[in-house]
Symmetry: C2
Amino acid sequence: MVDLDTVTSGNRLALARLLTEVENQTPAGEQALDRLFVRSGRAHLVGITGAPGTGKSSLVSCLAKNIRAEQKQTVAIVAVDPSSPFTGGAILGDRVRMRELAGDQGVFIRSMASRGELGGLARTTAGVVQVLDAAGFDFILIETVGAGQSEVDIARLAHTTLVVEAPGLGDDIQAIKAGILEIADILVINKADLPGVENTERALRANLDLGYNIRLNHNSAHKVTINDVETATSGWTPPIIKTVATQHSGIGEIVAEILRHREHLLKTGLWQQRDHERLRTEVSHLLQTELVKRWQKSVSPQVFESLLQQVFERKVSPGAAIDTLLNDSYN
Amino acid sequence: MVDLDTVTSGNRLALARLLTEVENQTPAGEQALDRLFVRSGRAHLVGITGAPGTGKSSLVSCLAKNIRAEQKQTVAIVAVDPSSPFTGGAILGDRVRMRELAGDQGVFIRSMASRGELGGLARTTAGVVQVLDAAGFDFILIETVGAGQSEVDIARLAHTTLVVEAPGLGDDIQAIKAGILEIADILVINKADLPGVENTERALRANLDLGYNIRLNHNSAHKVTINDVETATSGWTPPIIKTVATQHSGIGEIVAEILRHREHLLKTGLWQQRDHERLRTEVSHLLQTELVKRWQKSVSPQVFESLLQQVFERKVSPGAAIDTLLNDSYN
């Protein structure tokens, strides 16, 4: 049994150990998650995503330092690398960061690498974030590499999502990430001292406007103008902020926008709405898993495998096999 | 009720209508899928994925023409665009293609656009492919944009997966797609008349070797040399083929490799193994959906919502809520 009071009273070693249990989904970890849940729900969860090469990691370090110095609040950083393990970027960036932020008890850093299964990573990340939330951190910065569906799932955890771009990464990159832009609450152009920054800003703005149009079209099934955007998205237009993280320039503006976004979420009820949506999804997933687990106990593996065999041989369709299985076990 | 004999006897209009039912997941569509299942399992499913700008669509047209002319076999093309609908590439490429392949009764083309939900697209694609399989097409070419997890899911449908690259798309692209390279059975460098083709080939080969090392390390937990690769991957090393689709150059080589890969799959038993894995996943998904559906009938929505409310208020953990729900409804 993990001593949860030690964890929530600021013992960093106990916290690190508990996070390992949660990551490995041990029974002790699952139990602790369950018991810590009632203490969670207070932290501001901020997702930071972007392609490799945008300087995301330095930016996250700067944000942490600024929040510590200016807001006097505690910060946990969760660095998630959902890409193949051989990129190694998260680990390397992490070492540098640890040195920079070392010695401050108000900052805690955790790296998570992919273990092959994408949906699995999103779920363990949710667990880790929940523990850090219950442990009392004011801000939790969740950093992911922007490369597909997984970080969209991880971003869904967050109250506020930052998408980080940089000049000179090419038009193709922009196109690929169109889907990721749609999840941005705040857009950051880092390395804004590099040539091409105007092009990046123009491309972002174009994508952003287009993205809003499409999102609205999905719902309203007719074309809308940019002027309708503000109303339709509950009054939040993602700001575009230029930074040079290595020179600590523009960082204060991002933090100010994060705080402004929080105000906005609280005022419009979106804070609670995002929280509820996340919990509803979690309950649904758990329910599915439990239902399947309980059902498996009620049916013999032999019956299941022999039906599967008939499906393999194209004698029985998957739908018919399920009907047989469920009617046998519940009638 | 859809007349399935009309569909399987070559009536293209009836086929197109049935596919719409399947895409929209209507009861008639689901029923037809179920009944057609026993006639499926014969086609060679070939996935083709790659970033925008690689000339994927032209390549797929050329492949279809070559298979028709040289192999005298029938071909269905399923073009899937899992990215945001505003890329529009699939639709445009499709128009051009339709003109090129028009008039040949042995070719059938179907475009599918994203409807917002990624997992959902993979599932409807599976249904569409199953209908085309049952309708008797020898080859089904499934074309997707390479941009994340969704096309990895779609590629899992295929017996043989082609990953298409092109010179000059930048190093970042390569890094992002490292995960996609791992699913390649055949690597194609299209637009091989452009400058930089040697760099692309070198980058691919490096990623490929690295990818194999990692994949092997996952299993064996120790470093292996490239020489071990052949044995460990059941004797198939993905060939790298250079093409210029617009000049129909290199197309015959790809088709030859597709046929060689089929031989390999059949000889090693992998053909059947991939088929069984796919069907096992399909049965599991269906089972989950059905269990949840049946359970929902057994519990009152009021009870569910009031428990969810307690979770929202952090009074009850998701795990405890599920326990209460399941014990109430099944005891």
